[in-house]
Symmetry: D3
Subunit: 136 residues, 6 copies
């Protein structure tokens, strides 16, 4: 009896889309106004999904208080009110697209969650754009 439990969190961050190997003109051409060197920002909405068996004693797949706390420590404290390009190590050399941010979040949370549980990350960059990554 496998159930997926999902926890929603938020962080507000600045970023720009930029490939350091390209000229500024090519960056502007590919990324448009998202390449603005002065940065812009988003209210990111994050859904962390964990799938596994229900524990018969607790009725939980995973204690949501523990998952909430993990998201705060591993993601919110490191991303919230930050400039992703300038202040988050992973994005020094990786373009902080929604796709890449989702992969980075998955990589940060995966080692902290029981291996028997499947992990999936959904990230809304705006109310009209979102991505999902499940480690496949």
């Amino acid at each position: 009896m496998k159930v997926t439990v999902n926890r929603i969190a938020h962080f507000n961050a600045a970023h720009r889309l930029y490939n350091a190997d390209w000229t500024d003109a090519r960056n502007a051409n590919v990324f448009g106004k998202c390449a603005n060197p002065h940065y812009h920002g988003h209210n990111y909405e994050l859904i962390v999904s964990v799938k596994g068996e229900i524990h018969p004693e607790t009725g939980f797949v995973m204690d949501m208080k523990i998952l909430k706390s993990l998201i705060e420590t591993e993601i919110e404290e490191q991303f919230d009110h930050k400039n992703l390009n300038e202040e988050v190590r992973e994005f020094k050399t990786l373009n902080p697209t929604a796709e890449n941010i989702a992969v980075v979040i998955w990589n940060k949370l995966r080692p902290k969650i029981d291996k028997k549980l499947a992990l999936s990350i959904t990230l809304y960059e705006t109310s009209r754009n979102f991505v999902t990554y499940s480690g496949e």
Copy 2:
């Protein structure tokens, strides 16, 4: 050509998280304020998802009016404005976590829906916590 059709419904209920085999202290320790013996409550949002072939004459996988009516009879009438622990038979001996409520809803609806159709249940306990169960 398989399509999933989804119907959203709501019920408002009281519950507490509690394992009758444990001491009160252990219940308080594991379930925190959710173990409050005076109960608290939620506006539960339920998404019932049914997947199957489109019927060529109607263009329906399943008539939504029938699905809506099934949810009313089987779930809303039995859960809405109720105390889940005290008034719903299944939770007399089962902790009403979101995970377990989703499994109970799946078990109640599964016999009422054509076996050729796959069934999945999503249940929001709050706007930040939700679970999904597909009978696997």
Copy 3:
């Protein structure tokens, strides 16, 4: 230059609608399934609105961190995961309708907020029912 600033918070609570001066039959007749003696519950969404002049040095009408903290101390800690009828002093003798809960919240917050600022409370009981009280 008066601006209204609004802060949204949530609490999950059990309640029942009940007038102790009435018979059970009359309570059931007037309040319907909301009178269920075993209680039901809601995810309440609270909007606290404060109107006043923008402070020229900060650009704030009121520091949102302080308002957030006030709501946590005065409202969330006292209402969240509680049974309003049984555990909140004001509702021992007052029917916890959305209207009365909004008035109680206003009365609790009013003395804690600068008199020069106007205060208004909006409370969603469900996604389809909400109330507003401004102290008039």
Copy 4:
């Protein structure tokens, strides 16, 4: 490393549910008020989901500006502020249920999107009814 990227769009359209091979009485019986010959309408919300590898140079699975533009040209311009039964070729002979609209949208977009990318369509007909089609 496969990520799903999702883009949300909207169109407002009139339709009625109707099988031309049936009598009016049978249409009314099966489709209820949805068979009204004067039409009714909806604000359709469309989620187009595209799954594939992240391109290492851009960090994109697919450029969202291109996907947005495709949805505008192929779907919004043809469906928005239209009568689906009267003005959209596919529904001259196909009942415009949410299921069939999702399949038609999938069929329109599939040839325009790189074959290496998987495509899935989610369509909300109302805030309580939605369908998903993935070409299976």
Copy 5:
């Protein structure tokens, strides 16, 4: 102690914007694609707001069950799954803009609600456009 109570409802309808005193060209020029003679449609979201004193015995400004029932009888049954121009008497000679629909709804509900209570109507035509009318 005056509180505003608000009840949300929905109806799905077809309409077109059209002034019968104008040429088709002028209608097309002013109303754009909203003038499409084949109609388009919307999921209208309606908020009915009633302001007055809290009744000391019930804790209600107005019984929400009565307000819900009034909205069903007076508005939903007459507008839902209808073509506003063709099937709703008031719009035979009145352009069914969101503004005019809100005024018509206010006029229909005002005589049914206690004169001591103030009435206000909010109507969402889409998730990006809405109007409010308070009888002023």
Copy 6:
């Protein structure tokens, strides 16, 4: 017969809260993580509200297509995907709090809208914080 018409728009921007007359320590103390010199950002949601008489020929208070276009030219083009502190003239010397952004937007739109129409601005900085300014 006065109706308020409301149009919703969005812009994504970077900002920091900062008073140039203060020390960095005082900025950090008052504005907390919002003072981060590397900036953070938000998806701002803007509601522009215009109140006036319904024009009898059109049924409009104001043509929404014109209002939408005004918001695009005056606000979105100047704020979207920008760094408010660095790239928007008004915030060179004014702290871009939600309150001040709302006032700046009101001041930009007021001269472009008929004086007979009242104007009000609502700005969501996050899903939990929003402000309203009506020119009073």
